[in-house]
């Protein structure tokens, strides 16, 4: 209740955290059920008899379509987005830029309230007659738009929920952009922002630009569905003139492709920061990394139609979008190499956030590589609509964002709650998750390469897919292990919040403002005194600092003692993290 009333960005962030983790659990359980169905199609799911009494707990085709639809929607809109942007974004941005709070505190509160309303609608949809939405997370009309194809109120409720999530994201984005542009502490130049803030900033710009597109597209589908308009209706669903179903696909992917960057840019930012922090050196090519992230942001809206290579698009468009799609891999490569170079010649500390960041690099690297073949028209054709696509985007959007969420959570948890999560449990959680992610999504890549189409209730209806049963069973076993590994986090969380070790002031020994200028957890106004920023976010292992302070880090707002200035003849290290 407090969360719904408070305008403190830290309280809002915690509310997003609990909600996001809850939905992550819901989405994860649905994933387990989907995996069960692919491994043991039509066999009763142990313990599910109460939910599906008519089939004795076995998934029926309608139950299954609801599951994969809601798994996608819940994970994208109600788990990853709130965790990365709602929770970590709301928590970190004001602290990291040295602000007393968000630019518009009441907007923060409203963004959570609208999100919570959307989440409630989604939960309610599971209980209505004929079940929840089932038109796939992409909700292509006419399937999603006509009651003859998706009967029941579930589809309508969920789509209103998506509009709520979109409105919430938009409000949050306005707030983030204004906070970063207008509320930075004195001296916090653009070149001194932690990369995490850059990532969240670019994400917010994308949200600002593209979330309205999905809100409009979903809104028009809702009008087709509820009011009887025909924006996207054609064929037998209408008599007389109709609209164009393909128009929706263009609108949806104009949002949908940037959305993958919306979900990965904060992760990229965190990886950039964490590899620098825990290699005890400045981020390699800070400016290059920021430019690369900006380039991806700029290009993200221009590549979307590679999702439509098989839609019957004009050849001219196909060639243009293939070119643009391949170009976007260049900045991503620059950024990845910069992370690598940051670790190189560092002094690597394998803390939990660092291991999670390294895991993010691995899964994101594999995900990015497996996506190249989908960017070119010819190679996209055999892989389009298969599990290859599913494996690819799960590695980038799911595994990479998930590991980044937990890297961030393990990193900022002491700041959020003043307590340390248990390191051993955390390490076990992160390492096992990373390994199992590669196993599960690697299995999906293999199944897709062999031709398994996505979303099939029973893939083995097709004889050319029958031999994939054992592969799918192994993949499902890995998925169940992955699901169980999350218990390590739950146990850790419960145990820590009850009796966890109280965190020291700066456990990671880094210089960013939240660790050096505010207590843990920070009071309502964050800073007793607004810090004056003197240097970049990664001033680690500077010889001068080491000599004068006897440690390898210095606060962003911390002045070097004046008296020793005369004793060192060599030049001051350059201010700012620009490298």
């Amino acid at each position: 209740m407090k969360a719904l009333l408070s305008t403190d960005h830290k309280v809002v962030a915690r509310a997003y955290l609990w909600a996001g983790l809850g939905f992550l659990g819901v989405g994860g359980l649905m994933a387990m059920l989907i995996r069960w169905q692919w491994g043991w199609p039509g066999r009763p799911v142990p313990g599910l008899g109460w939910a599906l009494p008519e089939s004795g707990g076995a998934l029926t085709p309608p139950a299954y379509t609801g599951l994969f639809t809601m798994h996608g929607l819940v994970m994208v809109f109600f788990a990853i987005t709130p965790l990365l942007i709602g929770a970590l974004g709301h928590f970190v941005i004001p602290l990291a830029v040295g602000a007393r709070g968000m630019a518009f505190p009441r907007l923060s509160a409203w963004s959570f309230r609208v999100f919570a309303a959307g989440g409630a609608l989604v939960l309610v949809s599971f209980g209505v007659r004929l079940g929840t939405a089932s038109a796939g997370w992409t909700s292509y009309p006419p399937l999603s738009a006509a009651h003859v194809f998706t009967p029941g109120v579930g589809q309508t409720l969920v789509m209103v929920g998506v509009v709520c999530a979109a409105v919430s994201s938009f409000l949050g984005a306005v707030n983030f952009v204004v906070t970063v542009v207008r509320c930075r502490a004195p001296g916090m130049g653009w070149g001194r922002l932690p990369l995490t803030v850059w990532g969240l900033f670019f994400t917010s710009v994308l949200n600002l630009l593209f979330v309205p597109v999905v809100a409009v597209a979903t809104g028009l589908v809702l009008m087709d569905r509820v009011v009887g308009t025909r924006f996207f209706m054609a064929g037998a669903a209408v008599t007389g003139g109709g609209g164009d179903p393909l128009l929706y696909q263009h609108l949806f992917w104009m949002f949908g492709h940037p959305e993958v960057y919306i979900l990965i840019l904060p992760a990229w930012g965190m990886v950039g920061d964490f590899v620098a922090f825990f290699s005890r050196k400045r981020a390699h090519g800070y400016r290059g990394t920021v430019v690369a992230m900006g380039a991806v942001t700029g290009l993200s809206g221009l590549v979307y139609a590679h999702h439509l290579f098989t839609s019957g698009m004009a050849p001219m468009m196909g060639r243009a979008f293939m070119t643009l799609t391949l170009i976007i891999s260049l900045p991503a490569m620059v950024m990845f190499l910069n992370w690598l170079m940051t670790v190189w010649r560092g002094s690597v500390r394998l803390t939990v956030p660092m291991v999670a960041a390294l895991g993010t690099m691995v899964v994101f690297g594999l995900g990015g590589l497996s996506g190249l073949a989908l960017g070119a028209v010819a190679t996209d054709i055999p892989l389009h609509g298969t599990m290859w696509v599913v494996g690819h985007f799960h590695l980038t959007m799911a595994a990479a964002s998930f590991l980044a969420v937990f890297a961030g959570l393990y990193f900022w948890f002491p700041k959020m709650f003043g307590r340390h999560l248990h390191t051993g449990l955390a390490m076990g959680h992160v390492v096992s998750s990373a390994v199992l992610f590669v196993a599960v999504f690697g299995g999906q890549l293999m199944a897709g390469y062999a031709g398994q189409l996505r979303r099939l209730y029973d893939p083995y209806q097709y004889t050319f897919l029958k031999h994939l049963l054992s592969l799918n069973q192994w993949t499902s076993v890995a998925a169940f292990a992955l699901g169980s590994a999350q218990l390590l986090f739950v146990v850790n969380l419960v145990w820590t919040l009850r009796r966890g070790r109280v965190a020291e002031a700066n456990p990671w020994q880094v210089g960013t403002l939240e660790w050096t200028c505010a207590p843990s957890p920070p009071p309502e106004d964050n800073y007793a005194e607004v810090p004056e920023v003197l240097r970049g976010p990664h001033e680690l292992s500077q010889p001068e600092v080491y000599e004068r302070l006897g440690r390898d880090w210095i606060g962003q707002a911390e002045a070097l003692p004046e008296e020793s200035k005369a004793s060192t003849p060599e030049a001051q290290p350059a201010l700012g993290g620009a490298g």
Partner: protein
């Protein structure tokens, strides 16, 4: 594990005249990607191992040289990996996928209208008179037959929702969208029976939208079509509007 599971990592068997170009490109691409993954992740592992708790860390954020190196490495990788993919994909697109000159010019091209509906593939052949929309049109349900060795020019639409026509063994995928006619073409390299699949979620029984594609010897195909056309004429019912979903063939795509 059954005997076929040895093929887990292989693409579905290729039965088309042109699919090998895609397969070869995919193979090249995956080798390059595998190499890249090995190099990059190996480098990462080496860096972590070698610099774990190293006594000193570099104090800088990279030198001009190291930053140039990063840019150069990225450009070279991009040029090689993305470059191969781009050039050869463009070649396939220009010469095969979007080159309708081939079916237009070939004298024996088979023209086929496909209408997708929940949850079946309706296929229409012009019949003996060579025109669509006449009494001798042959219509089949989830049972497509084509002759071997000639281009098959497909025009595709949908009655109800968006479906996706997939011929995995012919490297063909194309959406069936209500209200518009999409086009593609392929050429079978050998006789046999293959599967037609739907790859766009189209409702509860999406997974059952399976058809068969029979590739026949040309003379067998002609005999089948002649007989089917004769029967169609006999069974023609002018009042059965649901059966008249065909369209006038669109000559230039």
């Amino acid at each position: 594990m059954d005997a076929a599971s040895g093929r887990t990592l292989a693409l579905p068997e290729d039965a088309s005249a042109h699919g090998h170009r895609i397969d070869a490109l995919l193979a090249t691409n995956h080798r390059l990607e595998g190499l890249l993954a090995l190099v990059v992740l190996g480098w990462l592992a080496l860096a972590v191992w070698r610099f774990h708790k190293a006594r000193r860390a570099a104090a800088d954020g990279g030198t001009r040289r190291s930053r140039t190196l990063v840019l150069a490495l990225a450009l070279v990788t991009f040029g090689v990996v993305d470059g191969t993919l781009f050039v050869r994909s463009l070649g396939y697109v220009d010469e095969v996928l979007w080159n309708f000159e081939v079916p237009v010019k070939h004298p024996d091209t088979v023209r086929l209208e496909v209408n997708a509906r929940q949850w079946t593939w309706e296929a229409r052949y012009a019949g003996e008179d060579g025109r669509f929309g006449t009494a001798d049109d042959v219509v089949t349900w989830s049972d497509v037959r084509v002759p071997v060795g000639v281009p098959v020019w497909v025009q595709l639409s949908s009655t109800d929702v968006v479906h996706g026509l997939a011929l995995p063994n012919f490297r063909v995928k194309l959406d069936a969208v209500p209200g518009r006619v999409n086009q593609t073409w392929f050429q079978a390299a050998r006789e046999g029976t293959w599967e037609v699949a739907c790859y766009q979620h189209c409702g509860t029984s999406h997974y059952k939208m399976r058809g068969t594609l029979t590739v026949m010897a040309p003379e067998a195909y002609r005999a089948w079509l002649r007989e089917a056309s004769r029967q169609a004429t006999r069974a023609y019912d002018a009042a059965d509007s649901a059966a008249h979903w065909g369209w006038a063939w669109k000559e230039a795509p």
